[in-house]
Symmetry: C2
Subunit: 357 residues, 2 copies
């Protein structure tokens, strides 16, 4: 598969976003967000989605020049209008605000309406973690999860992200859709031509399906836990919790009113998002050491299979990130490279330079 230098991938995304109307600062911020996903191996949320963001700007669903407005504020909280700016613009505004409040009074919590998609949820939690804080971020999204016992979807994949700093630069990072699998994983099984495990998705008949194409077409993902007998209602409950923190607090669309994200989007999704930062220094001293000890304890456990060591949450992405940084390149599917060559021509920017091995 073709490889692209990390810096070249970023250059291309920044130019494309600029050509679509984003100011330089916001184009760079949004490119960083998408690049992070590719670097840590979550390709579905990386450059793969650039075209959707470009379309959103073209159709004025997204206003890349909009400034955010604080509608209500206390020492620890803020209610914000995202004003349909780019995901990274709103994410940076809100997480910076949450971080400032956490540094002032221990906790900062910001809920925001009128949002577009903010990429990988974990990116925002990590922004607080880099400041020595615990970070959390949540977003709702269009219906993709079937509540336990229901026939159709109502909630989004509504992710939970949580990041906390440990000693010696280590960290715990949780970044998970509250469905068993994210839609990106189902697309990957389609490309590989392999079935999906039972408990990932329902087919058109409302029963569990192993056919990834059928799962993709129906868009009925099962909540984390799967069936009712294996506690799928807990994943549904977590998704509902995220809904409360996002649309509940911010006054955005509820997930069941959010339009699906397509290449022909004309209606703003008005997503709700929520950002939190917590300062561990307001609690017991030694936080990062205690967390470091936990991470080590888990990693040092005897594995079932010696070839598959026990990981701490977030280790997979760290390993992917190190490998990408060492290689200096990102490997993209040929199909993605081809389609972005067409985008480049259409927008009058230089296509991505491919490295031939």
């Amino acid at each position: 598969m073709p490889e692209v230098k990390i810096e070249e991938a970023k250059r291309f995304m920044v130019e494309a976003l600029r050509a679509a109307g984003a100011p330089l600062k916001e184009a760079e911020a949004h490119a960083e967000l998408l690049l992070h996903a590719d670097v840590v191996g979550h390709y579905s949320h990386g450059m793969n989605r650039l075209e959707l963001y470009l379309n959103d700007m073209k159709s004025a669903v997204c206003d890349p020049n909009a400034s955010q407005v604080i509608l209500k504020e206390t020492a620890a909280t803020a209610w914000v209008d995202g004003c349909r700016a780019l995901g990274a613009t709103v994410g940076n505004f809100c997480m910076n605000l949450a971080i400032k409040k956490a540094k002032e009074c221990g906790v900062g919590m910001v809920a925001v309406k009128n949002c577009n998609h903010f990429g990988m949820a974990g990116y925002w939690a990590l922004k607080a973690e880099k400041e020595g804080l615990i970070g959390m971020s949540f977003t709702n999204s269009s219906p993709a999860m079937v509540p336990t016992r229901a026939k159709k979807s109502a909630l989004g994949t509504n992710p939970i992200a949580f990041a906390a700093p440990a000693s010696e630069g280590d960290s715990l990072v949780v970044d998970m859709a509250t469905t068993t699998a994210a839609m990106g994983k189902i697309e990957m099984q389609i490309r590989k031509g392999e079935p999906i495990p039972e408990g990932w998705a329902l087919g058109a008949d409302g029963k569990t399906t192993k056919d990834p194409q059928e799962a993709f077409n129906t868009g009925r993902l099962m909540p984390l836990g799967g069936f009712e007998s294996t506690s799928g209602y807990k994943g549904y409950a977590l998704s509902a919790m995220v809904e409360v923190l996002c649309s509940g607090l911010s006054g955005s669309n509820a997930a069941h009113d959010v339009p699906a994200w397509t290449h022909t989007q004309t209606k703003a999704p008005n997503l709700g998002q929520c950002f939190m930062a917590i300062d561990p220094s307001c609690f017991a001293p030694g936080f990062s050491d205690r967390l470091g000890n936990c991470l080590d304890h888990w990693r040092e456990m005897e594995p079932m299979d010696p070839a598959s060591p026990v990981l701490a949450p977030g280790d997979k992405e760290k390993i992917n990130g190190s490998e990408t940084d060492e290689r200096g390149t990102i490997v993209y599917p040929q199909q993605q490279i081809d389609s972005y060559r067409i985008v480049a021509d259409r927008m009058g920017i230089t296509p991505m330079e491919i490295i031939n091995n």
Copy 2:
């Protein structure tokens, strides 16, 4: 099975806790906590555990007369020493503090060390909900969950509880162990003589078991999601998140250092707990109506099986609670009644009065 009047069950628990050394106020508070679990049908966390609490007081693991100490404080946060008091004593102290802070500055977050078991996590989240706030509560617990890929347990069932007020007295209540099933559910299958589903627990050989007795003996519950292929690492990640909020912030024992809760306990568990309250009025107006609309939307969805309507998170407990209140009695297993008759004799209190149908 024998029935006991709700008030009589409470009378018995208060007297037993008093006889073991708890002041009246704390005995009543703790009895309320256990009674709530029985009323809503979570019998494992109700009177079933009374004897463990009585033993903890007898062996001085629990000091029912201890006052809590605020060790560090900001407008939105507090770090508290629970001083080994009863679970309800510490829970009330900390959640009242979180509620006070939320009313003052939008969010209140309290982390506490030196805790004993605080019963059903949801009870504490509901305490904030009754004040018109969002409530959250977390606790760590002794090792019972096997991290993905590991052979043995390291984390607790580390529950997440979340409650939010909706219009017309309605509410969303999430109260879930981050394991697929709580240990109480496995005990229930033993009593029923029925197998457990795959994905609940590992046997002595480290493979999934359907034998509830083996699952109980090994104490190796699988994280929510089950196997790695069905995203069990997400349940593990959620449990790790709870660990950070509990032992990480409070400086208590980490789950892997917490002794199992037994009838011969001599070492204080030094659990960590975390309580949060959030004031929705600091964000977009109309919170409770929006949540009410979501709850209705989910409940009104077409079910797969018309005999099993779609529920909102927390509905099962509300239905159980209404049925209990209407009946006016709680139904306990004969075994539990018998063992508490022995306890009553030993402590010199009046045994529970049983209603003969």
